[in-house]
């Protein structure tokens, strides 16, 4: 696809913000309302059903806390990758992006171990509405983590060659957003008991 | 560019002419009779299935191969509120409006004849714990009307039991026993069935006789 002719439109920047970054901001805006819908519905149910706490008690708070830490660390790497990209150091940016991806996969692995345990204990997506929300909200978030990891791998391989370094910042923005969503999910699904 | 400015007046006039003309072609009354197969496709298939085998998920019975006189009789009962109008008869209340999709008695007859041509099938057993040998004894009461082979008897207005789902027969026997089915004063055949169902004293007896009935169909 390298022969793809870029229209002149892509080179303009009336707002002064790069187009890619602008698009990521809009993407984040539309994602906020999606997660807002899930979390809003969950909160409404949760407030109406205090007895759900007995189900929430079976979530693995330590795994959740560890994952929070993993994501926060990976966000730090994303910031470092952005800094490196700003200094036009593609190799270094790629290195930090790979570390971010490592964080993403650690998160997913911990998550899958956690879920396996819970499903074996009989808490499946259809066993109770709390668990339906638990798997749905975390599942949608997990898909975002996976998508972010794949995009970062693509961008890192470009950045290594010094191509499209401005994308490092854009994907970093997206990654911070994914982290912030988790910051909301963690207390709502794990801590509130 | 604007040369056709004056053209909308004739078009308008033409249209005002067309409207009542079209309205005059009132195709009401021209109600073509549909074939039994077409009626079945449009009104029965969605619940009873293309081959008339019924579905457990929506508690519709197998109707394939049931005699035309019986299907017709039951459809008429549903349409007139003789069957399926008891407040506790959840499934019957679902069937009653569906039977009213048929526009007239001719359509009821046509669709009944079509249902009779569908092939009955042996249905999988869903009830556990039925004793067929014990059930054979209970079946003695049923035998008089439904026949030793369970294929029913038109003279006695007894339907065929062959190829029917055991869960459906179970629920209907329970309804007869509870007076949810067959209690309507105009339901003469249902009224005959009601005391017969009382000979099956408990759920175990019902399961036994159903186990026997399932051996009748192959």
């Amino acid at each position: 696809m390298s022969s793809f002719p870029r229209p002149i439109a892509t080179t303009r920047s009336v707002t002064g913000i790069s187009t890619g970054k602008l698009a990521v901001w809009w993407l984040i805006a539309s994602e906020i309302v999606i997660f807002g819908g899930v979390l809003g519905s969950y909160l409404m149910h949760r407030i109406g059903h205090p007895e759900w706490a007995s189900h929430a008690a079976h979530t693995n708070t330590w795994a959740g806390a560890f994952n929070t830490l993993v994501l926060l660390t990976s966000s730090l790497f994303a910031v470092l990758a952005h800094q490196a990209a700003d200094q036009k150091d593609g190799k270094k940016a790629a290195k930090f992006l790979y570390l971010t991806v490592l964080g993403a996969f650690t998160f997913l692995i911990v998550k899958s171990i956690e879920w396996t345990g819970e499903i074996q204990a009989g808490y499946t997506i259809s066993s109770h509405t709390f668990w339906s929300f638990y798997y749905t909200a975390a599942g949608i978030h997990g898909v975002h983590v996976l998508a972010g990891a794949i995009i970062m791998l693509v961008i890192a391989s470009d950045a290594k060659k010094g191509v499209d370094l401005q994308r490092v910042e854009a994907v970093g923005l997206y990654w911070h957003f994914v982290d912030i969503v988790w910051i909301f999910l963690f207390p709502l699904l794990y801590i509130a008991k | 560019m604007y040369r056709m400015k004056k053209s909308h007046a004739p078009a308008l006039a033409g249209l005002i002419f067309i409207m009542p003309l079209v309205s005059a072609c009132h195709p009401d009354g021209a109600r073509p009779t549909l074939s039994g197969a077409e009626l079945y496709d449009s009104s029965c298939k969605q619940c009873h299935g293309a081959t008339g085998q019924g579905q457990l998920g929506i508690t519709t019975p197998a109707i394939a191969g049931q005699a035309a006189w019986y299907v017709e009789g039951q459809l008429v009962k549903f349409r007139t509120g003789v069957r399926g109008a008891h407040p506790e008869d959840y499934d019957g209340l679902r069937m009653r409006p569906m039977s009213q999709q048929l526009m007239n008695v001719a359509e009821v007859k046509a669709v009944s004849a079509y249902v009779a041509t569908l092939k009955p099938r042996k249905q999988p057993t869903t009830l556990q714990g039925g004793d067929a040998t014990a059930g054979a004894g209970h079946y003695g009461v049923c035998l008089a009307c439904h026949g030793p082979d369970g294929k029913g008897n038109e003279l006695l207005k007894a339907p065929s039991l062959v190829g029917q789902h055991d869960w459906y027969l179970f629920s209907q026997l329970k309804k007869f026993k509870a007076g949810v089915r067959g209690k309507h004063p105009k339901d003469l055949t249902g009224g005959q069935m009601q005391p017969m169902s009382m000979t099956l004293v408990d759920d175990q007896a019902i399961k036994n006789v159903l186990a026997h009935i399932s051996t009748l169909s192959k």
Binding site: - | P87, L93, R94, P97, M98, Q100, Q101, H184, P185
Partner: protein, 230 residues
Amino acid sequence: MISKYVESASSFAGDIDHLIWLVTVIVGFWFFLAEGVLFYFILRYTAQDGVKGQYITGEDPKQKRWVAWPHYLTLLFDVWIIIAAITVWQHVKQAMPQADSTVRIIAQQWAWTFVHPGPDGKLDTPDDIKLVDELHVEKGKTYHFELQSRDVLHSFSVPVFRLKQDAIPGRTIRGWFKATMAGGFDIQCTEICGIGHALMPARILIENHEDQAAWVMSKSPAAAATGGTP
């Protein structure tokens, strides 16, 4: 306006009809005014040879008031309608006057079951009268209803009462009505509830005191034992 075509058979039907009439007058005025001006402009300013269009920006406050004033007026009329609408709404849906009797309405795919309290006037007693697709009420009595559903959403609608309320499975929704006219009318389901949605018509039979009493007696357990329809 509405009552010319659909009888007005409840104590609040007149209020709703009056509200509809008020809205009709107000929006009718605006509608015909706007259409009139629109058609006048179209005819008045059709292109003529040698006449150029005028250059009006519409940004000048003097010009803007031609849209600003109508706009303030709409706001004023809106407030009027809102006040009238909320008054009616509160009377019909929020206030619950003292009930003389209570009926239970159970919707299902695709039938209505009406539970009447029977001779003792109380629900959940053995003499309750359960009827499918037939609701008997007495003229002039205030009824509360308890609306339930056994499966999906339904909506209990009695056009002659101007009354409508959705039934939600798992909940009991309460409301009230007071019939003011004897007769038999349609009850409709107005929330799509599956393929039999069109085939769950029911009738409401509004009876005078004597007829109602006679009907209750005929349905009492004693009468049923001697051969009443179940």
